[in-house]
Subunit: 225 residues, 2 copies
Amino acid sequence: MINFEALFKISYGLYIVSSGTKDKGNGYIANTVFQITAEPPQFAISCNKNNLTTQFIQESGAFAVSILHKDTEPTIFGRFGFKSGKDINKLEGMSLTYGETGVPIVLNDCVAFMEFKLVQSVEVGTHIIFIGELLQADVVDNDKEPMTYAHYRQVRKGVAPKNAPTYIDKSKLAAKPPAPEHKKYKCTACGYIYDEAKEGKKFADLPADWVCAICGSEKDDFVEV
Amino acid sequence: MINFEALFKISYGLYIVSSGTKDKGNGYIANTVFQITAEPPQFAISCNKNNLTTQFIQESGAFAVSILHKDTEPTIFGRFGFKSGKDINKLEGMSLTYGETGVPIVLNDCVAFMEFKLVQSVEVGTHIIFIGELLQADVVDNDKEPMTYAHYRQVRKGVAPKNAPTYIDKSKLAAKPPAPEHKKYKCTACGYIYDEAKEGKKFADLPADWVCAICGSEKDDFVEV
């Protein structure tokens, strides 16, 4: 028996994984970044084969990880988590630095960053585990706390994009009885559900300049579900 | 430049990884457990080649992960994190269940557990990444919060065992000026440092039944450093 609620007890941070060159790069929101060995320091990330960043990592042989803090702007999740680099230039207008390998590193809302040289790739079904050796690392903002996936889910009410290793099809979770007086509205950009029952406020009563808590989309981008 | 302080900004949980059979098994404290793919649910762990549990995983082709909660007894860290299954039977006296594959699963102080069938092993220097397909998962205690590595380090003042992927040689961190009036005492079992300057209390003034916050060792097991 698999109780998918158990999987939510695993702790992760939230990161932007980026790759590419000075001319062309991309990044996406990841929660699966972890250290594999101490000597030398090597790390692994799990990257969906369909991600544009995957292609950049394979081409450049390098990647960077920016560690996001708790007060990260919702638009950062919208841009890097729920939009594709095939449609927009995600790095445009961002605060960037470039690593020793030339990879772009996003500095917005991050407490620290790390740069890696790709040393091994492991195919695992829909994803590739990229293993990188640490080239450089630094703290950007020591006063902010790193964002955790638990905080993102519980406090920020975030959801996982479909390409994420931790995406869970809602139909697999135990069904909860509906509350017929309250309606639910879904953000068409990121999938976030505004639940009137939980929020204690009707969607219609929200101010006109209200935006999606996850991706910053406007009220008009929501549909009743 | 590698600032090792940056690596402490990565978020992890704390887990007991176990393997073996009903007759003979072992487990160790891990912080590197993460999901790789959603369909099917596959997870990865990073395990030191010298760990006895590594041998059991290779022999049985299966492993389990117990997700520890915030109030986990210090002795659990002492037993599973700082002692070797080559010297003691770590599972003796523990609250155990056995998985579909027969692997022992530790239920002490855990919020949830998962059982995996080994599907791939990847050698990365000192460690092996074991990739497992999820066979079963369940929540044990929904009222407790999962322990995070940040909580373990900051609140519980825990340290990483030498075999851990996240072990950091203290000499690599920026040197801090010494406070000559205060002494430091080190736990010979787990390496935990009791720093009089931080604690605001002389080690000699601690009660006789005081024990190491990490592994539960007694006062006599500490040496001045």
